[in-house]
Structures are given as structure tokens and as C-alpha cells.
């Protein structure tokens, strides 16, 4: 598990992690993207003038990067978490570049729920919050569709109760 006890990004009780299915969804996406890389590497081997060892090095490097990204996806997904407090929602994420966003319910302008084709097949959904500030970056990926819908409705309800002008 990611160390969640460090200073600014403390995970108090009440934090919800996201579904591990997101790992599968993102690894499938990575695999699909790597089909193209694999095709390019194979092409290197059949180019007549290119020494075999160059193609070999390229192939080796791409395999290492693939393994690293594969592992990174697992860690990144485990770094996502959110917590609903009485007056605001907290979202945290990131390993190298960590961040924590606190969005007061009264400031939410709209809540998006979205899922791509791979996400839908695996049953994961992203909930994204928008405020009047463009820099608010509060997306919670990897929610089960049922949870996402419930979260959206809860957020919308609380937003309405606490809504303020600009």
C-alpha cells in the first residue's frame, strides 16, 4: 500500500479507495497502446540495413518501460481516494506529484459522470466535479457505476442545500 500517513496528505478514517477494477481497465488500455509499439519494434527487426543489436536494444527498453508502467498503474490507482466530510469533499491522488483537493459542496457547479468503452465493459466510472474555477481538478476515477450514481446524487443534493452565489 502507498504510505498514507505522511504530513499533508493524511488519510483519516472515512477515506474510500477506488475499485481495483480500474487497474485492469488501465492495463488493458496500456496493452492496446503497446500493440502499436510492438508492431514498430517488429518492423525494426525486418529492416535489412539495421543491425540486429539496435533492434534488440529498442525491444529491451520497450519491455522495461512496459513493465514499469504496468507496475505504476497499480500504485497510481491505489493512491486515489476520496472522503465525504460534512461540508466538503476531499479527493487525493498521485505518487510522484501528489495532490489533495478540497471542494466545498456549496461551490460545486456541476458533477459529471463518465465512462469510456473499456471502462463500461469492466464496470468502472469516473465522477468529476466542477466549480467556477477552471483549476479545480477533482476527478474520482474507478468507481462502480452504482456507487458513482449514488455519489453524484448525494453531491448534487448537498450542493443544492449549501449553494452560494459566486
Amino acid at each position: 500500500m502507498v504510505d498514507r500517513s505522511e504530513g499533508a496528505f493524511t488519510f483519516a478514517p472515512g477515506w474510500t479507495p477506488v475499485s481495483p477494477r480500474l487497474v485492469t481497465a488501465r492495463r488493458i488500455t496500456l496493452g492496446l497502446a503497446y500493440l502499436l509499439v510492438a508492431a514498430a519494434v517488429v518492423a525494426l527487426f525486418v529492416i535489412p540495413d539495421l543491425p540486429r543489436w539496435v533492434a534488440g536494444v529498442v525491444a529491451g527498453v520497450s519491455v522495461v518501460i512496459f513493465v514499469w508502467l504496468w507496475w505504476l498503474i497499480g500504485r497510481r490507482v491505489r493512491s486515489y481516494g476520496y472522503a465525504e466530510r460534512e461540508d466538503d469533499l476531499l479527493v487525493t491522488s498521485g505518487i510522484m506529484f501528489r495532490r489533495l483537493v478540497i471542494v466545498p459542496y456549496g461551490r460545486m457547479q456541476l458533477v459529471d459522470v463518465q465512462a469510456g468503452p473499456i471502462d463500461r465493459a469492466l464496470g468502472v466510472t469516473t465522477v468529476q466535479l466542477h466549480t467556477a474555477a477552471a483549476t479545480t481538478d477533482a476527478a474520482i476515477p474507478g468507481l462502480l457505476p452504482q456507487d458513482a450514481a449514488e455519489l453524484r446524487d448525494r453531491l448534487a443534493r448537498r450542493g443544492e442545500q449549501r449553494s452560494a452565489g459566486l
Partner: protein, 466 residues
């Protein structure tokens, strides 16, 4: 239709023309913009048509002789007529009025009809501008902006200057919670930026001055070694900043700030005169910017985030919303106090970034700090160009804490308070990680209490009524 209406504006051009006025409203109180609008649009198209003719035709006129020239002129005239005719159709379909709910309504469109309803309770700003060609006809355009993302503005063109001002004061009065029949708010000038100060200050901004200096050095060096060949490089490094200086000089020339009951009123512009009213309750964030070279004169620039203004404008260009382009510090502070009464910037208690932040930000680490009182949160950063950002607690949209790998190694974190789109970033860089989180949590609390108590959105409502 317009033929039945009497002449109200008379003879603006002094050409003996008598123009029918905008006239009285129809039975629903709906009004058109001024009927001269199609003519202005037609005239405005002529320079563009000429420019296009020159670009396309180029030197061919000399070869083709008089016939081609006359044909081209006729074509340009035809284009102007078509533009004017199209604009006339637009004019006929454009109606604006205040509806029974107090909202501002605009119906427009020639092929695609559009009906807009602006909720004046969410008004952000009303601008009266006089573009060059409109000014020739003593006309002005009115831009009304309400809070919202994307295209949340209405531009009415053209009205006579008097009508534009009357419309602005009516919109502002209604938005501020007064009835529509208020006199235009009287105004008193506070400061006017001298043209010389503006020019000097624009040249002395850190990046501009730096680029000009570098260009001069390159030019000097290459001239010393190999003649004038350095001009090619310096055309970019020196030309672009000069272009920016000239553009901003024209834009902000004659910048005047005056006080009126519905907010601070800004007037500026050399070729296009703009008027902007900044209602105090709609200012989302304020920033003092102080480039290195300005300090010897004690100058600062004050930038604002105003919701709905200063995002991408109609041309997709970001506009820097200013309160004043350059002013002595005490004058600027006094101006900001009108927007945020009772704020004493010099009395804030600053909490500095820890000494180890030097290893993350070796130049600016001494300036990095955050402060707050019961009204605002303030952040300070920048050593070469000093920046001090102020955000009133009720305007907090969301709060973020971020930490990059380098910050993490030093156990530092940065705290950001998100504001509506605009030039001001409220960022406290490289604080102690635990402290950053404390400030973030406390800021959310302060924002919540302030929001509950906030009444500033109806800024012109008399205090006795509360």
C-alpha cells in the same frame, strides 16, 4: 418600423444628416439598437476589403490600368453594401428589453434565431466601448457579462453614447437591487495614469526589459564581430517585446479610475475607448505585481480576477483584467481598499516558508509566505517580480495541496486556493507539508463561515435595509 419614429439624436456628424433615433419602445417595452448600425458595419468592412484587394491583387493594378481599379472599387462598394444589407436584417431581428422578472432579454439572429435571458442577479460587468469606426459616428457598443462558463455575454451594437451610458446605469441599478429608474451614478475621478509613466513602466517590466537588454547585447556583439547580421535574431527577441509594449500602450492609454456608487469605473484606450465598471462584490481575487525595475519609482500594477471577464474573449485571446496598469503603491493600496473595505495589507501577519525551501526555490524562498485575517487570505511569491495575491474568504472556490518529488524530499508542500479564471493565481509555494495542510483545512472553514455571512452580492442595497 423606424420610419415612423422621430429624430432624436439629430446630427452627430455635422453633415446635415438627420438620423431617426432609436425611437420609443414597442408595446412590450422592446427596443432596437440604433438604426445607423448597418451603415457602420458597411463602412467598417471597407478597409478590410481594400486590404484584401491589395493582398490578392498586389502590383497587378499597375499593369491592368484604370479599368481594373474602377472595377475593384465598385466591388469593394458592393461588398460594403452586402454587409450593410445583412447587418440591416440583423438589426431588424435584434430586440432587447427588461422582462417582468427583472431579467435582461435579447432576441437576435437572421437565419438562426436566438433568445437570451441574462439573469441580472448574476451580473459581472457592463462595458461601454467605442471602437474606432463607431466613434466616427458617435456610437458605442455595450457588453453585458454574467457569471457562467463559455459564452455568457451579450454585445449590443451600436447605441449612441448617451443611450449606451443610460443602458449601463439601468442594468447596474437593477443588478444592484434598485429600481430601473435611477439616475446615472455620478462619478468622481480618483487617478489618471500619465502617458509617460505608462510607457516607462511597460518598458521596465522584468521580461520586457530583460529581452530588450539581451537583444541589445546580441546586436552589439554581432555588430562588433560581423556587422549587421545580428538584426535577424534580434528582430524576434527585441521586436516581440516592443510590439507588446506598443499594443499595451495603445490599449491602456489614458487609464482613469473613478469612483461611482455602483463600483469603480475604469476608462482606457487610445483607438478604442473602453469603460468598465468593477462592482466591489464581484471581484474574485486581487494581485499586486511589482517588477524589479519598478521598485525605484515605487510602482505596482494591480490585476483582478472578475468572474466572467478575463477568460478568453471573443477572439479567443486571454485578457488581463487590470484595476490599474501602473500606480504608486499607496495609491494602489487605497484603490484596493475601496474594493475590500477595511483591509490593511501591511498589518497582515506573514507565515514564511521554512528555510529549507531555499533548496527548492533558491531565489524567491525569502519572499514565499502566506497570511490571513478574518477577511482575506494572502500569498506572496517572486523575488525578481514580486507578487502579492489577495483572495476574500467568501470567494474561495476550492483548495488544493500539491507536492512534487523535490518538495517531498524536503517535506514541503504548496497550497493553492482556486479562483475563477483570470490572471491572478493564489498560491503559497513550498510551505512545511503539515502546515500547508493545516492552512488548507482552516481556509475551507474560513470560507464556509464567510460565505454564510456574505452579503456583498447586492452591493448597492442601502445598509438600512438589512
Amino acid at each position: 418600423m423606424s420610419q415612423e419614429r422621430s429624430s432624436r439624436i439629430g446630427d452627430d456628424l455635422g453633415l446635415g444628416l438627420s438620423m431617426p433615433g432609436m425611437g420609443s419602445a414597442d408595446e412590450h417595452g422592446r427596443r432596437h439598437v440604433h438604426p445607423i448600425t448597418p451603415i457602420i458595419h458597411g463602412v467598417t468592412s471597407i478597409p478590410f476589403a481594400i486590404a484584401m484587394a491589395i493582398v490578392w491583387g498586389g502590383g497587378a493594378f499597375a499593369a491592368l490600368g484604370l479599368g481594373a481599379l474602377v472595377a475593384t472599387l465598385l466591388l469593394i462598394l458592393l461588398i460594403a453594401l452586402v454587409v450593410a444589407a445583412w447587418s440591416y436584417l440583423g438589426w431588424r431581428n435584434l430586440w432587447f428589453w427588461f422582462d417582468d422578472d427583472g431579467d435582461f432579454r435579447v432576441d437576435s439572429g437572421i437565419l438562426t434565431r436566438q433568445q437570451r435571458r441574462l439573469q441580472l442577479s448574476r451580473l459581472q460587468a457592463v462595458d461601454v466601448a467605442q471602437p474606432l469606426f463607431a466613434r466616427l459616428f458617435s456610437m458605442a457598443e455595450v457588453t453585458i457579462e454574467v457569471a457562467g462558463t463559455g459564452d455568457s455575454r451579450v454585445r449590443l451594437r451600436y447605441l449612441t453614447l448617451a443611450e449606451a451610458r443610460a443602458l449601463r446605469s439601468e442594468v447596474l441599478a437593477r443588478a444592484a437591487g434598485l429600481s430601473g429608474e435611477t439616475e446615472e451614478a455620478p462619478e468622481t475621478a480618483i487617478i489618471r495614469v500619465p502617458g509617460r509613466d505608462l510607457a516607462v513602466s511597460l518598458l521596465a517590466r522584468s521580461v520586457t526589459a530583460g529581452l530588450l537588454l539581451v537583444s541589445a547585447l546580441i546586436l552589439g556583439f554581432t555588430w562588433w564581430t560581423q556587422g549587421w547580421s545580428g538584426l535577424g535574431v534580434t528582430a524576434v527577441t527585441g521586436g516581440v517585446p516592443i510590439l507588446i509594449v506598443v499594443t499595451e500602450f495603445i490599449r491602456y492609454f489614458g487609464f482613469t479610475v473613478s469612483e461611482s456608487p455602483d463600483g469603480l469605473r475604469l476608462r482606457f484606450g487610445l483607438t478604442k475607448t473602453q469603460t468598465r465598471t468593477v462592482p466591489p462584490g464581484r471581484v474574485q481575487a486581487i494581485e499586486f505585481v511589482e517588477p524589479l525595475l519598478w521598485r525605484r519609482w515605487g510602482w505596482v500594477r494591480v490585476r483582478l480576477n472578475i468572474a466572467g471577464v478575463g477568460g478568453a474573449d471573443s477572439g479567443g485571446r486571454k485578457e488581463e483584467t487590470l484595476l490599474v496598469p501602473v500606480a504608486p503603491r499607496d495609491v494602489a493600496v487605497a484603490l484596493v481598499q475601496r474594493l475590500q473595505p477595511g483591509l490593511d495589507i501591511d498589518a497582515l501577519t506573514w507565515h514564511s516558508a521554512p528555510a529549507r525551501s531555499r533548496r527548492r526555490a533558491p531565489i524567491q524562498f525569502r519572499r514565499l509566505a502566506v497570511a490571513w485575517n478574518d477577511q482575506v487570505l494572502a500569498t506572496r511569491r517572486g523575488q525578481v517580480t514580486r507578487r502579492l495575491a489577495i483572495l476574500p474568504h467568501p470567494r474561495t472556490q476550492s483548495v488544493r495541496v500539491t507536492q512534487g518529488p523535490w518538495e517531498r524530499a524536503l517535506h514541503l508542500a504548496s497550497m493553492h486556493v482556486d479562483s475563477t479564471p483570470g490572471p491572478v493565481r493564489v498560491t503559497a509555494l513550498h510551505l512545511d507539508a503539515g502546515f500547508a495542510r493545516e492552512v488548507a483545512d482552516a481556509q475551507v472553514e474560513r470560507a464556509r463561515h464567510a460565505r454564510d455571512a456574505d452579503t456583498s452580492t447586492h452591493w448597492a442595497t442601502p445598509p438600512s435595509g438589512e
